[in-house]
């Protein structure tokens, strides 16, 4: 018996040693003296392969450098592309690349490489539609290529500023065209040095990147994935994290008290909105839709659910998007600033005159009660509750239903929802076409309007940017009048940092500008 027990204990110890040896301890408890930047994030991107991922963020985009970029004023300026020439009616564009750029693998970023990258993008990226309907890509010389579209595609130039369309080095793929997620090669400021699945991504500065004088201001960047909010905050407060992205709103005031901590605020480019299935009979009358818009008090939602860290938006586009119009924003603000009495009158004019014992308006004996879908983000759920309260003031009863994002994404194109709290973000007004109100593309809102289809289609192929802006303005004016959804707010991107001589966040897209990051010595 004794021998058996001894054998069991030995077996346990051996097993324990084997398991301990299987996984290396990667993290160091102290980073004193190092120029390592530790960034704390909520979740790991599903892939570092930009053609496969549907979730871009700080942890995977620094691998890639874009063909064009937005400067701090929002102008589109050259980046990997030195210049381009629009030919004839705009269906063909010749692009000339800068000649001294290399991928992380050491291969040149030349016309052939960019062509192969675009071909893979069209074949496998969920964002391939943002390259337009490409007819052909022709290599003209080592650093020049021509893209021909079946139709003009005006949003292409802004889309080129996003990482989704950045060139990747397809030469690192294996014989099956796979393996990029394990051995990625782009031309961005950070080069991947280690993947610790589920735990962290470790990068080093790419030596051939176009750094500012003096080279990179850090030796490595460690993106750590810490899903729990409390744990992430404690790691930052303890000094184990230098950059805390998406600081939860309730902790901002506390962190601001620390003199070593700087809070960077940049308006986001993602617009949250209250939408509904416009095909449902209850939303057919424009007066009903306008009444809902008029009953919403955005500032109250922002103050009560986001600690005031968001900007109210009344027009259909956020300020960061090309196509945003101050005139439209003012017009929408004037029309839909909260006015309960007017909202009630509009509902009455639409026939919602009676009230049941709960104060819910009725028409033909049926109460105005709808279900509002919201995802599992606690801030969104709080916002849904405020909206529920605000709409009850005009007699509309909202039942909140919390759904997983996967369910909302699958069910809303089928029209299974009534109302939803959702959001979108894209740097170009073409998002109104390909996502929100385009013909057969209005997946969440199911809004049908031939006049708007026509304007959005025309805008997508209008190569003259001023004329294009006018078309979007016209379409947005109609959208404000028709009120097929209620734009609510754009949340601030809030980042907490410490231990930097210099740390810069792009004021338009909110990404970290790695060439301007310098760790305190």
């Amino acid at each position: 018996m004794m021998k058996n027990k001894f054998g069991l204990i030995s077996l346990f110890i051996v097993l324990l040693l084997v398991l301990s040896g299987c996984t290396e301890g990667e993290q160091s408890d102290s980073k004193e003296g190092s120029r390592e930047v530790v960034v704390g994030l909520v979740s790991e991107p599903d892939s570092v392969d930009i053609h496969r991922t549907s979730s871009t963020g700080e942890a995977n985009t620094p691998l890639y450098d874009t063909l064009l970029k937005q400067d701090f004023e929002g102008n589109i300026v050259p980046n990997l592309i030195a210049d381009y020439e629009i030919i004839g009616d705009g269906k063909e564009v010749i692009f000339n690349l800068k000649e001294d750029v290399k991928f992380h693998s050491g291969k040149p970023v030349n016309a052939e490489a960019v062509k192969l990258s675009f071909e893979r993008l069209v074949e496998s990226s969920p964002f391939s539609t943002n390259a337009g309907d490409i007819d052909s890509i022709e290599v003209i010389s080592e650093y020049s290529f021509k893209i021909k579209w079946k139709d003009q595609f005006a949003p292409f130039f802004i889309n080129l500023t996003t990482s989704f369309l950045a060139p990747i080095d397809v030469s690192v793929l294996d014989e099956n065209g796979e393996g990029f997620e394990k051995n990625p090669s782009g031309s961005g400021p950070l080069k991947l040095s280690k993947i610790n699945r589920g735990d962290s991504l470790v990068y080093e500065p790419y030596e051939d990147f176009n750094w500012n004088d003096g080279g990179p201001g850090f030796d490595s960047v460690n993106f750590r994935f810490i899903p729990d909010e409390e744990t992430r905050i404690l790691e930052f407060k303890k000094g184990n994290i230098d950059v805390l992205l998406n600081v939860p709103y309730q902790y901002i005031k506390d962190l601001e008290k620390d003199s070593e901590v700087t809070i960077e605020r940049v308006p986001g480019d993602v617009l949250s909105y209250l939408g509904w299935n416009n095909k449902l009979p209850i939303f057919q009358d424009v007066k009903v839709r306008q009444a809902i818009a008029m009953a919403i008090d955005r500032e109250s939602i922002i103050d009560n659910t986001l600690n005031g860290e968001a900007k109210a938006v009344f027009g259909p586009l956020p300020k960061a998007a090309f196509g945003y119009s101050e005139n439209i924003e003012t017009m929408a603000r004037d029309k839909y600033t909260r006015n309960i009495e007017q909202a009630k009158n509009l509902l009455a004019e639409a026939g919602w005159t009676e009230k049941n014992k709960d104060g819910v308006v009725m028409k033909d004996g049926k109460p105005f009660a709808v279900e509002l879908w919201v995802d599992d983000d606690p801030a969104n759920q709080r916002a849904a509750q405020v909206i529920q309260n605000q709409l009850m003031k005009i007699g509309i009863k909202i039942n909140i239903a919390v759904k997983e994002s996967a369910v909302i994404i699958e069910q809303t194109p089928k029209g299974a929802h009534q109302m939803l709290l959702w959001s979108f973000g894209w740097p170009d007004a073409d998002v109104l076409n390909f996502l929100l109100f385009g013909k057969d593309k209005s997946k969440r809102l199911h809004y049908e309007n031939e006049a708007i289809y026509s304007l959005l289609d025309k805008a997508a192929i209008e190569m003259d940017q001023d004329a294009r802006l006018k078309l979007y303005e016209e379409a947005m004016e109609m959208l404000v009048e028709e009120s097929p959804f209620v734009p609510l707010y754009v949340k601030e991107n809030i980042t907490a940092v410490r231990n930097f001589e210099s740390f810069v966040v792009h004021p338009i897209n909110g990404s970290i500008e790695w060439q301007d990051v310098k760790v305190k010595e």
């Binding site: 346990f12 990667e26 790991e44 599903d46 699945r197 735990d199 994935f225 404690l234 996967a406 994404i409």
Partner: protein, 306 residues
Amino acid sequence: MSSYLLKRITTMLITIIGVSILVFMIIHLIPGNPVNHILGDYATEESIRELESRLGLDRPITVQYLSYMANAIQGNLGTSFITGYTVVEEIMNRIPITAQLAFYSIIFGSFLGISIGVLAAVKKNTIYDQLAMTLALIGISAPGFWIALFLILLFSYQLSIFPISGYSGFYSLILPSITLGLGTAGSIARMTRSSMLDVIKQDYIRTARAKGAGAYRLIFQHCLQNAVIPVITLIGMQFGYLMAGAVVTETVFALPGLGSLIVSAISTRDIPTVQGLLLFMGSIIILVNFAVDLLYTKLDPRIQYE
């Protein structure tokens, strides 16, 4: 013994097949599908159909299941729809952490639970007994995330003894193991107490005491050794709960184990990863319980499987 083994192995295989069918049905029945997640907001009807066909999701469900099982038998659990890694790679990357966590938790939980249980039984109806059972009740009922945060705040944030989160070897698994082990300890303590009290009443204990056996020998050799069988059964059963508890513990401590992987796989409807992981975890739990059954014969020679 050999016919017993054959019977048990057959039952195990049937159970694993049952688990695989159940898992397959559940993941296909819940709303939300991976194609929508992959293509996101920008999907068209055409691109959805094309991707469904590429991933084999347009085939009848029975064909999908049979093809999946045919591959699984050969050790191929498929490739994640989302990450591009094979499911076996994902499991191999993460199993060392979850296995260590489960192992240390069981060791901690068993040691603490048996100690408290023995103390409560020996000091029955005293303040020690009441205190021990109150502690056991707290261990069972306190939520894992609450215990985890309490331990982090005290031992990591205030006292700087352990790292707050992440994996950096054995040291970083001490707090997660305590978090996970406390619930197990509570159940084991209650079971040990009740089993010990049954044994203490037996005639052979009275005889041993009459023959002058010392307190230490009486408790640990005569009582505990005979009282431990139901406790061992409970420890085997707790293994399943530990796997479930690991989901919360790994999330709070940011440990890259199987628990955190399954959470992200479910939220993205990554069918191959969810199926592979649940099948793997189910098989492990079944195997552990089988091992526990075999352990009985070693602990009590009176038990023989025919």
